[in-house]
């Protein structure tokens, strides 16, 4: 495993690896996204309690799960960058951060749109909503911190450190629904228990979840390639590559 991963730390190898991967990821992501969302938004049965407005779950839940998933991925990359001093991992941190921030924003906005008909308010100061908002601020913090240093290298390292520190917030968000008695409903899908959702609604939801994950991977590959080119622009291999095109 390590022998297979290790060459990828080299920017040039990683650039070509991401280049090979991204068309496949793009195709898979767009396919599952279209399938999952059309199926979920158009063809699932109506909920007996919440009517048609529950359909937003097919966007809300995948983006909320992936907002935390993206943070976890970012934190793992940051940890790798700090411990093994791998430059490409630092660039991965900065490649993932805006994607995660957008997912968090989508989760918050769709949650607001869902909350208005269900709870009668666009926003309530509920534990889960508040902690999700904090997650958004953490993403902003990582990006702002990177921009605040005149030395790019230091900025990337410090942003990685902050990303690792911020993982403290992940369990708080995840368990907030169980720790505090709040308005936000509990988890619909869990790994261990039988899901509290009908299979006819569950499958499109899982499809959308997969789609959101693939979109994240695809965009990360694209952004990472750009970051590699930008940071390595003085290296011969980049000059050769740019000259060839």
């Amino acid at each position: 495993m390590f022998k297979w991963l290790h060459p990828l730390a080299k920017p040039e190898t990683l650039y070509h690896f991401c280049g090979k991967l991204s068309p496949w990821l793009m195709a898979a992501a767009l396919f599952t996204l279209l399938l999952g969302n059309i199926w979920g938004l158009g063809f699932t049965p109506t909920d007996y309690q919440q009517g048609d407005s529950y359909r937003i779950i097919h966007i809300h839940v995948p983006s909320a799960i992936m907002s935390m998933g993206a943070y976890m991925a970012m934190a793992i990359a940051a940890f790798t960058a700090l411990v093994w001093q791998i430059k490409t991992a630092q660039w991965a941190v900065l490649a993932i951060a805006p994607i995660g921030a957008v997912y968090t924003a989508i989760a918050l906005l769709t949650g607001m749109a869902w909350g208005e008909p269900m709870w009668g308010a666009w926003w309530v100061w509920d534990a889960r909503l508040t902690s999700q908002l904090i997650l958004l601020f953490l993403y902003f913090g990582v990006m702002a911190l990177h921009g605040a240093f005149s030395d790019r290298q230091t900025g990337a390292k410090v942003a990685s450190l902050l990303a690792v520190i911020g993982t403290i917030n992940l369990p708080i968000i995840h368990f907030s629904v169980e720790w505090w008695n709040t308005l936000h409903q509990g988890a619909t899908i869990t790994k261990f228990a039988k899901p509290s959702i009908d299979p006819s609604m569950l499958w499109p939801l899982l499809m959308s979840l997969l789609a959101f994950k693939l979109v994240m991977l695809w965009l990360t590959c694209v952004r990472l390639r750009t970051a590699i080119l930008e940071n390595e622009q003085h290296r011969p291999w980049v000059k050769q590559l740019v000259g060839k095109v």
């Binding site: 702002a144 030395d151 410090v158 450190l161 917030n169």
Partner: protein
Amino acid sequence: MVSYGVFLQRELRLLARQKSDWLNPVLFFIIVLTLFPIGVGPEPNMLRIMAPGIVWIAALLSVLLAAERLFKDDYRNGVIEQLVAARHALQPFVLAKISANWLSTGLPLVLLSPLVALLFNLELPALQAMALTLLLGTPVLSLLSVLGAAITVSADKGGILLALLILPLYIPLLIFASAAIEAASMGLAYQGQLAILMAIVLFALALVPMAVCSALKINVS
């Protein structure tokens, strides 16, 4: 252990010479407290309900105000660079910095809490809870603000960035501290919340100094 004592002495001597470093945050705390009744109206019952939140937010802001300058001078005149080069001296230096920060900005807030209770008509149980939560919570405020100062020490625009980074991390503390004071003012038991605060202190004390050291190392290299 010896070097910790030496560093602490140095920090305290510096604080004794630059009184504005610790006096201003304390004054700021009192001024923020006096602004709230003007802003939301002087209704005593409402102020009593809002007091826990107001006190804690004022404490957060005043600690944050002191944080920005924590490492700036030591960074500019090269002390931190020397300590990073000396390797073993960095950890006691960081611990001394945290202790001095708590003694100069956290402890005064704990001592001021009876005065705050008078200003907001709090009763004795609520006052006790407030003093206890401040006693347990202000070390965490110091730890996290030192962490923020270390992360941003070589940044071009450190001040506002520091607030943006550190305030989200304060939130768990704020939740449990104000829950404890609220429970106490309703005559309920609040040992549970205090235990969680204690756990947060110990957790932060174990991990934050390590993170501060690595942040300083990154900023120097």
